[in-house]
Structure formats: structure tokens, C-alpha cells
Subunit: 417 residues, 2 copies
């Protein structure tokens, strides 16, 4: 059972070069874990030294070096401080990506579709040729569910526009606008902890307890017996039973007026206990439904964003940006008041705090036309509400930027007079 | 109205030095927007050149340079390519943060609490001394709602442990485990698009249409008349009316068995039309409730993560990691089979695909003891399900790592025999 090969031999003959450069040669423990420097840990396991962590080894603040077979809940795919990633992040060409996080849905970088083709789409399952990125797994699932509901209702409407009743009822959370539709999930499944995802998660009570949920159905996930080759017949029967119950549940929820719009399942139930099922089971499920699906991992927060925030605050203090923005905001609002007096047929309700300002336009069509014309003249503005324009400049938006804006805005308004 | 100060004067006298270095001197348009290089834009506005964007100016792929008064839906706080951020990200000391994203809730970096004190907590409202980071605004709100529900139910239970009925019903989405409780929100509010947040969002039908929702109450947000000083009495009446209706709605939902556990409101309704209310309104609301709350912004995906993914895939290909992981996975599973034969009273159901493996332990207490003992010996393992251990090594987990693991695991099991 025990490996007879000495560690030093493994490392210096079998390991490829890049591995050598950044992996350690074995665990090294100085204290029990959590150690004395991981004091007041509360809910966390212990505090880590990510700078000193390498390859398969996580180092904690007490200099304990641990072989990591859990990798941050399965989210460090090629180990700690991989030289290729360090080199990538040290490349000055990538600095812009790190500091200018875009609103991807509206203002993607030039090469983003190509980058997705090179990355996600290059490893997508055969036949899946499109991808929609989201910031995390829960967000991906929430949006996948919404896509299923929208698809289902669209089909029910015969691809016609939603009715006035659809539109008005949805604003107050009522059917038919917010329909009684459900997502079918499996006992033991884990799909995230936001409220839509959580209604399909059934792995542990601690995730779900005390949180309101939806009346959505749950089907049994096969419980296979091992070793598989000794229980071929029993396992096939178990999978057949689960498929049968899945069909029954779908019929039952349709009958009670809350039909199943989609099904979500993990290829391997992980959080629920690493439960596997055979390819036959998934093919059987595919025959019942039509939508294959995948699951990703979840993180909480992101230290690299916090690094940015801390420096943002330094800059705000160093450059007195709060003073600056108070001054620019006053200039902006005064300019809007002047324009409002000049174009009473177009503008009203100029308002704001600092540079966080807005103004109403006479109607929706004029507002949208102003937004487009301003953009063509080099000013990017945002709409909000039925017919408002909102201003969200950066904190380095000075008085002279206000004047550049007001000049162009004035030109645009003159064309609408 | 028009600014009479020439642009060149503004820039070279009024602008502080750091501004000079990276801001442009004005808009510069080459084409209409979207221009010819922003072809096939679909739902997006246009494609951007973030490398060439500077300060207040967003540059698109057609080299149109626009003064940006919308800043990626208000998410570029100190402008594009700020030198301080570029310098921060180019600092080799921060590389580890960029490439080792931790599961913060369990394995935070050593200095993370200090970093939060230096950043978020240094600007938190007076009296708010704790912070919980999340990856985005929707996730923050979802978790705030869950915190309110958990707090409410905990109070109802008199801080006793949940009953067996609570625990069993929550697993199938039923009361009392998943209680009938609601969050009160305001007409015109926007709090995100995940399903919990979406039930409190009432800004546009397009966000909500076709998505199942909760029976949660909505109160009116004040609609102020401008200029404020001319409508003092009317606006005070409007705010009083809204507070009164808020109280009525809380009573009504309590009476129908779906009590309000918490209230969510924006300090300024942004997406809903930049609607303001007076400090008196918020103080009045505070008197009705007890929980102040704030809202953040949302992004979709993150190109810097995609940059990492593309390089991860390069490494996987270059180092033949799929072949490697197949080999290590086989060694791991064979080792687990051997141990299972050696310790039949402790281990069962060894299983896996590649190195994505798991094994069951005789009971929960033994499993947890094994996890802790293995950790103290330098091996980090994860639990899942009632009594399973799951293995989630990195893709650079070689056969010799398997042997290091198996030796230590064997020692731990010998102590439990």
C-alpha cells in the first residue's frame, strides 16, 4: 500500500520542469491547525499565506505547509502560484483588463467574442456553440432558470407579445406576469444559495432552513451500490425507479397548475455526497426532457477587487476627490438648471447629490433621441425610469469636464427645440 | 450658459498632475456610433478599446473618443486606466492575489480582516463596524434577505434549535422550514435580478416578466415635485402618505399570514428614475422598521477571469494535464480500493472520475475526526454529504502526490482502526 518511491526521486525525475519551479517537496507542519497565528478564526478554517503557497501546497500563517486535496472547494485548477499565471498577470498588456472592468452586456472589449471562442467555447460540449458569461455559478443558474421560464412562456404565448395583463401583473409579483412555473431538481442536489437556486438545492438543511421557497418538485437521484460490477441489475433498477418517479412528479406538478419549465441536475452530485449515475440514466433523463445543463463553483467576494477599492480610496483622499466632486456637482446641477430654464418644453426636474444627478425629458422618444445624439457628439449618458437621463461620471470629473458636457448637451437640445 | 474657457486652458492650468498624464483633452469622433468596426453588435451598445480609454474618455474600436458620463453603469469610480491602479496592478507583490482566488468564507488570506478595515470599514456609516463581502450586488442583497429571514425565525423560536419538522420540511421547500415570510420593497426600486432580489425589484416589466415570484408587498416611493423649495408642503404630504401606506401594507401582510421580515430601499432610486426622498422620509421609515440597508452595482462576468481561464487551458494542453490527471486518478482510486479492503469497518463506496473521487466513512463523527487528523498531518480534504470525503486536487496533482496522500491517509486510518 505505502509508496516505496522516495520523494526526492519523484520530484527530480518525474516532475515536468514548470512543476519543479513552484511546487514544494512535501508537507511541513509547525503547529496544529488552526495554529496560534490563526486566532479568532470563528467560522473560517484558518488564515492562509497565499504568497508562500505553491502548486499543490497551501501554506498557512503559522508556516504549516499542507498538501491540498480540496483546492478552495475545487477552484484552483492548476495549483497555487502557477508560473504561467504569474507571468500572465505580470504582463503589462493585461493591466487594462485588470483595472477597467466593463459592463460586459453593453460595452464589451473589442476582442471579447474572440477571447470566449479561444477559452470557453474551445472546450464546450459538442453542439453547444454559444456562451453567456456570468460572474459566478449561482448567477449562471439563476439566469439559466430565467431563460427556461422565458422560453416556456414565450412558447405558451405562441411567440406573440406579452399582454397588458402580463405586463401589469408582473410588476406586483402576480400571475400571469409572474407565472406559476417550476424547476424540477433532485434530492441531494446543490445548485447555489441565491433564492432561485436555493429552491433547487436539497443537500443540507442548513442551506435552506428559514428561507422562503417555491413550490417546486424534487425527484430522487439514483443511489448506486458499489462495486458497480457486482450490482449491475440492482443499480439499473434503481435508475429506472428514479426516472419513473421523475416522470410522475412532472405529471403531478402539471396537474396542480405549477408545470415544470425545466430540469436541473449535476453530472455528479458533489455537495450532496459525490453521487454518480450512469450514462444510461442521463440519456433516460434527456429523453424525458430536452435541456442539458452544467454546474460551476461559487466564491464569496474577491480580494483582487478589494485591492482595487483600497487604492481607489487612497486616490480619493490624496486628490481630495470629495471636495472636487462637490464642486463639479454644483457646476453640473447649476448648468442643468440653466438649460431647464432655456428649454422648458424639453427639460424638467433637474436633481442630484454631488455629481449623482438626473433630469427628466418631456417624453421617452425624445430622451432616447437625445441619448443617441449626445453619444454621436462624444458624450455617453445613461437613461433611467420612463424618461429620465442620469449622470454617473467618475470622481475625477472636474468643472472643466462639466463645461465640455454642457456645451455638447446644449447643442443636442438646440436640435430638439 | 456655454463655457467660455478654452479647453487648453482648463487642462493645463486647472488639472492636477495625475489627471494630465492619462486623461485626453476632449472628445474626438471618427464615425457615428456604433461605427463600422462595431459590427453585429446585437444587444450591446458598441465594442470598446479599453487600452486606449483614459480618465473620463471611453474610446471605441473605431477610435471614437467619448466623454463618459455613465461610466459602465456607474462602476469606474476614478476613470479609465488611472495611473495609480495601473501601478497597483503592475506591483509584483499583488500577483498572488490575482492568481490565487480563495474561498474567502473558509480560507481567507492572513491580512484580509486588516484589508477590509483599511478599505470598506474605513468608509462605513457610523455605528456599522462589521462587513461581509460578497462577489456582487445581487449576491449581497440575496444574502441580506436571508439574514433577515434567519434573524426573524430565530427570534420566533426564542433562539432555540430548529425543530425536526423545521429541518425535514425545509428540504422539500415547505413551511415551517421554508416559512411564509416576505420582504417589503418600494414601487420603482431596483435591487438585482436573481430571483429573491427580483421579487423586490419594481422598476421595469422587462426585468420581471415570465419569472415566478413571491407574494411580497410593495409600498409607494415618494414622488417629489421640483423645485423642492416651492413644494415643501406638498412633498411633506406625499412622504407622509407613503409612510402611512407602508405601515398599512405591513399590517395587511401580517394578517394574511405572510409577515414582513425586513424592508429594502435605495437611498436614491436609480434604475427606477433617480427618485429622491428627504432625510425625514428615511427617518420615518426607520421608525417603522429597524434595519438600514445599502445597494451596490452589478456586473456581468469579468474579463480578467477569462484571461486566467484561457491561460489555464493553455497549461492544460501544453502539460498534457488531462493525460496526467487520468493517470493520477487511477492511482488514487486504486489506492482507495486497497485501503477499503484493509479497513472495511471504516471505508466503503470508493468512487470517482479522474481525480474527482470520493469515499464514504462509517459515520459522521469518524469522518470529521479523519478530516481533522489528516489536516494536522498536512493533508487538506473536504467532506460532503452525510459521511463522505471528497477529493478535489488540482490538475497538476501527479502520481507521486497521490502516494504522499495515501501514506498519510493510511496513518490516519490506522489510528481509527
Amino acid at each position: 500500500m505505502r509508496a516505496s518511491v522516495p520523494l526526492i526521486f519523484d520530484l527530480f525525475s518525474a516532475a515536468p520542469k514548470t512543476q519543479l519551479e513552484y511546487d514544494y517537496d512535501g508537507p511541513s507542519m509547525k503547529t496544529s491547525v488552526p495554529g496560534p497565528r490563526s486566532q479568532n478564526v470563528g467560522a473560517v478554517n484558518f488564515f492562509c499565506n497565499y504568497e508562500e503557497s505553491r502548486g499543490n501546497y497551501l501554506v498557512d500563517v503559522d508556516n504549516n505547509r499542507m498538501l491540498d486535496v480540496y483546492t478552495q472547494i475545487s477552484s484552483i485548477p492548476i495549483g497555487y502560484n502557477h508560473p504561467a499565471l504569474l507571468k500572465l498577470m505580470a504582463n503589462p498588456n493585461h493591466l487594462s483588463t485588470l483595472v477597467n472592468r466593463p459592463a460586459l452586456g453593453i460595452l464589451p472589449p473589442e476582442n471579447f467574442p474572440d477571447k470566449l471562442t479561444e477559452s470557453l467555447l474551445s472546450v464546450s460540449p459538442s453542439g453547444m456553440t454559444r456562451v453567456q458569461t456570468m460572474a459566478c455559478g449561482s448567477c449562471s443558474n439563476e439566469n439559466a432558470y430565467k431563460a427556461m421560464f422565458i422560453w416556456y412562456r414565450n412558447k405558451e404565448r405562441g411567440h406573440n407579445m406579452p399582454s397588458d395583463e402580463d405586463v401589469s401583473t408582473c410588476m406586483i409579483n402576480k400571475a400571469p406576469g409572474c407565472p406559476d412555473l417550476s424547476i424540477l431538481s433532485f434530492n441531494g442536489g446543490f445548485h447555489g444559495r441565491t433564492m432561485g437556486c436555493l429552491a433547487t438545492t436539497h443537500s443540507k438543511a442548513i442551506h435552506k432552513l428559514d428561507v422562503p421557497s417555491f413550490d417546486w418538485p424534487m425527484a430522487p437521484f439514483p443511489r448506486l451500490q458499489y462495486p458497480l460490477e457486482e450490482f449491475t441489475r440492482e443499480n439499473a433498477q434503481e435508475e429506472a425507479r428514479c426516472l419513473e418517479e421523475t416522470e410522475d412528479v412532472i405529471v403531478k406538478w402539471r396537474q396542480k397548475g405549477n408545470p415544470v419549465a425545466g430540469i436541473v441536475i449535476e453530472p455528479i452530485q458533489a455537495e450532496g455526497g459525490d453521487n454518480h449515475a450512469s450514462p444510461d440514466f442521463f440519456k433516460g433523463l434527456r429523453n424525458i426532457a430536452r435541456k442539458p445543463y452544467r454546474i460551476f463553483n461559487t466564491w464569496m467576494g474577491d480580494p483582487s477587487k478589494n485591492l482595487l477599492l483600497a487604492e481607489v480610496l487612497n486616490v480619493i483622499r490624496r486628490e481630495n476627490l470629495l471636495e472636487e466632486v462637490t464642486r463639479s456637482g454644483k457646476a453640473l446641477l447649476n448648468g442643468l438648471y440653466d438649460l431647464q430654464a432655456q428649454y422648458p418644453g424639453i427639460l424638467s426636474r433637474a436633481r442630484g447629490q454631488g455629481t449623482f444627478c438626473a433630469i427628466d425629458i418631456c417624453d421617452d422618444a425624445t430622451r432616447n433621441s437625445i441619448l443617441l445624439k449626445a453619444r454621436d457628439k462624444g458624450v455617453l449618458l445613461g437613461g433611467c425610469g420612463d424618461r429620465s437621463i442620469r449622470f454617473r461620471p467618475a470622481l475625477i470629473f472636474k468643472e472643466y469636464h462639466v463645461h465640455i458636457f454642457l456645451n455638447i448637451f446644449n447643442d443636442v437640445l438646440a436640435e430638439h427645440k
